[in-house]
Structures are given as C-alpha cells and as structure tokens.
Symmetry: C2
Subunit: 254 residues, 2 copies
C-alpha cells in the first residue's frame, strides 16, 4: 500500500527540501521503493538529488500544464529511486493553473496509476500555499510539516493548520498530519522556547525526534548526496535515521 | 526624493524580513522617515515590528483587493515610522489579483501620493515571484536581494535576475538592483564558497558588507525590537549599521 507524503510549510527556509531528500534516502536505505516529486520551481530537491539539468527531458511543469504523463518525465536514479524533476518554468504554473478545471486535483489524477509502483511518494513544495502546494495536499495521504526552531516560524503554523482542514473539507477527506518536525534546533533559549510552544499547541502531532542545526546538512546537497552518504555519523544523519524508522513503523493505518 | 526599496528573493528563509526590519530601524536611527509595507501573508515584518494583531483595522489585503486607501490602513509606530501591516487573508490575494485589470500595478498606484511623506519606503515580500512580489517590483525604485550563504540559495539567483529584467521591460524601466546582500555568513568552507560564487557572478551588485549568522538577530523580533534596540553591540547590529550607512550614502541618483 503506497503512502504519499507531502512536505508543506509556507514559511520559507524551514527544511522542507532537506527533509524530503533525506527521508527519501533513508527510506531507500531501509529497502523501500521511492518516488520523489519536486513541485518547487527553485528545483532544490532536483539538484540536491544530484540531477544535472541536461538529463531532464520533461518535468513537473509538463505533467501539470502540458498534460505529459508522469511516466515520460520520471528519471531513474537507482534501482529503487525515481525522481519527477522540477524546472523554473513551474513558477508560471501557479497562474496557468487558475485557468484549468479541477485545478487542484491535477497531480492526484496524474499520479494515480504510477504511484502504485512505489512504497513511498515524497512531494517537496514551494514556500507558499498556492495551487502547486494545494495539488500536493490533494494528492497526498499525509503531510509532514517541518518547523524551524525560530520565532518567525511560529506564526505560520495556525494558517497551515487551517489550510489542511480546508483541504480535508474540499476534496481530500483522508489527509492526515504525518507529523510536525522541529528542525535546526540549537541549545539556545529561543530554540527551546519555540520547540516547547509547538509541542504545547500540537502535542499529538509533534515528533519527539528533532533535527539539530548541523552544517553537514547544508554541505551534503552541494555534492548531490544524502546526509547518509555524505556524513553518515553526523548528528543530522542520526536524527534523520530515527525519523525514517518512525515513519516506516507507522504503517499508515492510523 | 523618496526611495522605494523592495526586498525580494523567492528562496525562502534568506533574511528578507530580518533585513527589512533592521534597515527600517537603521534608517530611523539616522533621522530618516520610513514607511514599512508588509506584503507577506505570514506577517513576520508586522509582528517583528511589535504590532499586535488587535491594533490592525485595515491591512495590505484591504488596500490591494478591497480598494481601501493606504492612509486608512497605516499604523503610526513612532514619529518617523509607519507600517502598512499584513494579514493571513493576503494569501488569497494572489488568486484574487489574477482577476483584476492592471493587476501588477495596483500597489504602485495606491502608494503614489502617500510615499511622498517619507524618505524611504521598504517593502517586505513573500518567498515567491507571484503577483504580490510583482506589485512590489513595479512600485519600487530598487530591489535589495538577500542571499543566504548556503548552497540552495544559489539556484534561484539566475531566475530572480530574469524576473527583474522582465519587470524592467514590462512596466518599470527605472528599476535598479539596490544590492545583493550575503546573509547568515559563517566561517565554514561552504559559506565562503557561496559568497565567492555570488561575487563572481554579480561583482557590481554584491555588497562588500555581509551579515554574519548571529543568534541575536533571531531573538530580537520575538521582543518586537530591532537589532539596534535589542543588542546594539552585536555582530548583527554592527553589520546592519554599516549596510544602512551604505544605503543612505548612495543617494539614489545612479
Ligand atoms: N538541520 C539543519 N541544520 C543546518 N542547516 C539546515 C538544516 N536543515 C536545512 N538546513 C539548511 O537551511 C537552508 C533551508 O533549508 P531548506 O532549503 O531545506 O528549506 P526549505 O523549507 O525547503 O526552503 P524553501 O522554503 O526555500 O523551499 C538550506 O540552506 C539548508 O541546507
Ligand atoms: N544573520 C542572521 N543570523 C541568524 N539568523 C538569522 C539571520 N538573518 C535571519 N535569521 C533568522 O533566519 C530565519 C529566516 O530569516 P527571515 O525570516 O528574515 O527570512 P525571509 O527571507 O524573510 O523568510 P521567508 O522567505 O519565509 O519570508 C528567521 O528565523 C530569522 O530570525
Ligand atoms: Mg525547499
Ligand atoms: Mg519573510
């Protein structure tokens, strides 16, 4: 039974892409078959996974706007790891999608067949709650919400929760919160305060596992590697490893 | 002669809001009259400036979508500092703006009179190149681009430059780059590499001043204070002070 997990948070720079890349890699390490979909026009997940722009024939823009099949756009990375790459053109998709019928359900429809070939589909999103992220939330079974352990990151949480509730009411009844993941935690007072505040407001959903600020996590994608390949003994690798074990053990039957 | 400076970068979490708040405060310290406009639905600039949601009557959404005047929505903070606050409703503005005529020019038209009461207008934007940011770029004289000294931040730079060139061709001929500001710099190899790469591609536009990673900058907004009031002797305060002096000395006549 495939599980589709969307990464979402309209606050920028909170670790959506870093989490998408490293849980995809961690799931692979645990023998799972994974499709990574990059819906962010910045293509950070595409490049962080080591994809060279020259390898890309079709991308997420072609699938959503020009009706290409997912199969024609997927790039095979390893035996068990495929990626649907992004491109800068996707930035124009937000406006072009407003003209289409059922504009929020396009991704769900497009991946309906293909997703059955995998154990997990991980979708990275841009820092916004626009039509690209809505497509993701409609196609997803659950949403993983990275929250940076810093003051500004607190503000968007209520807004995000509201959006998830709206998605449930208008088209994706079964959407659940996979978890709220505190990222870039440090030993500062402000970091501890933000973590405590999020745990207070969302006690059920917040993972006990937190991802510490770790420079290895910023270096790994510049080599197109996951944290496990780049610095397998780092604090970042250990934390993402625990997170992946938790995701696998929750076999999706709430 | 008022100068309208927009903060823009579609990459999230690079320091747009932190820079907007601290250059606004720094300009005040130097006797300038400042209007801060918050066009980000996350309202980080609004709360970072110490505004309580209860104080807000009208906001940027009312100005852009419901045709309220800028004057009716502005909150007076101190003698020389006003703010046009944001609200979560602004998230819906992207889609609503697509239906309006001259949808990119609304902010420019709305601030045309009001801006003359100030020396500087600073506009904070969401992490996207959608219609909210386009409104800002059309209304601005120049754009200040914070770039985080980390690998992922490099990718969006070419896209951003393309967007600025498009804006120049379609409506705001006079738009210039105020500067590219490297933020959250550290003594790591990856930070130095990214700074060197940006300086190589944009030698003219990149400030020699860089903003170091400094925890005081993340704490200040949780008290509604600028870095100057919160930790005036910190490395963050010293760097933003230098930046403000550079902005004032460049009196805008390119
Ligand atoms: N735990 C961590 N420790 C240190 N740096 C981190 C950590 N997680 C992410 N980063 C770095 O912080 C920056 C922001 O992370 P990332 O790009 O993954 O966030 P994002 O939410 O995907 O951003 P955007 O909103 O732009 O899509 C990146 O430079 C990344 O390398
Ligand atoms: N020089 C710095 N040193 C340390 N932390 C910083 C620095 N500048 C910004 N920050 C912190 O990094 C985070 C991202 O900064 P900020 O919110 O200003 O970026 P942004 O570009 O406005 O984000 P968004 O794309 O979501 O609008 C915030 O938690 C902020 O407090
Ligand atoms: Mg990202
Ligand atoms: Mg911001």
């Amino acid at each position: 039974m495939v599980r589709v997990i969307a990464l979402a948070n309209q606050k920028g720079g909170v670790g959506k892409t870093t989490t998408a890349l490293n849980i995809a890699a961690g799931l692979l390490k645990n023998g799972q078959k994974v499709l990574l979909i990059d819906l962010d026009p910045q293509s950070n997940a595409t490049s962080g996974a080591g994809v060279d722009k020259k390898e890309i024939n079709f991308d997420a823009y072609d699938v959503l706007i020009s009706n290409r099949s997912v199969k024609s756009a997927i790039l095979k990375r390893t035996d068990n790891f495929d990626i649907l790459p992004s491109s800068p053109e996707l930035a124009g998709a937000e406006i072009e999608l407003t003209k289409k019928k059922n504009r929020q359900m396009i991704l769900k429809r497009k991946i309906a067949q293909e997703k059955e070939n995998y154990d997990f589909v991980i979708i990275d999103n841009p820092p916004a709650l626009g039509l690209l992220s809505l497509n993701s939330l409609m196609a997803a079974d659950s949403v993983l919400i990275p929250v940076q352990a810093e003051y500004f990151a607190l503000e968007g949480l209520a807004q995000l929760k509201k959006t998830i509730d709206l998605v449930k009411e208008h088209g994706n009844l079964g959407l659940t919160i996979e978890g709220i993941l505190m990222t870039m935690t440090t030993h500062t007072k402000i970091s501890r305060q933000v973590v405590a505040e999020v745990e207070k407001h969302f006690p059920e959903e917040t993972y006990s596992i937190t991802i510490p600020r770790n420079v290895r996590l910023t270096e790994a994608p510049s080599f197109g590697q996951s944290i496990f390949d780049f610095a397998g003994f780092s604090s970042g690798a250990r934390a993402y490893n625990k997170l992946v074990k938790e995701i696998i053990s929750k076999d999706g039957t709430e």
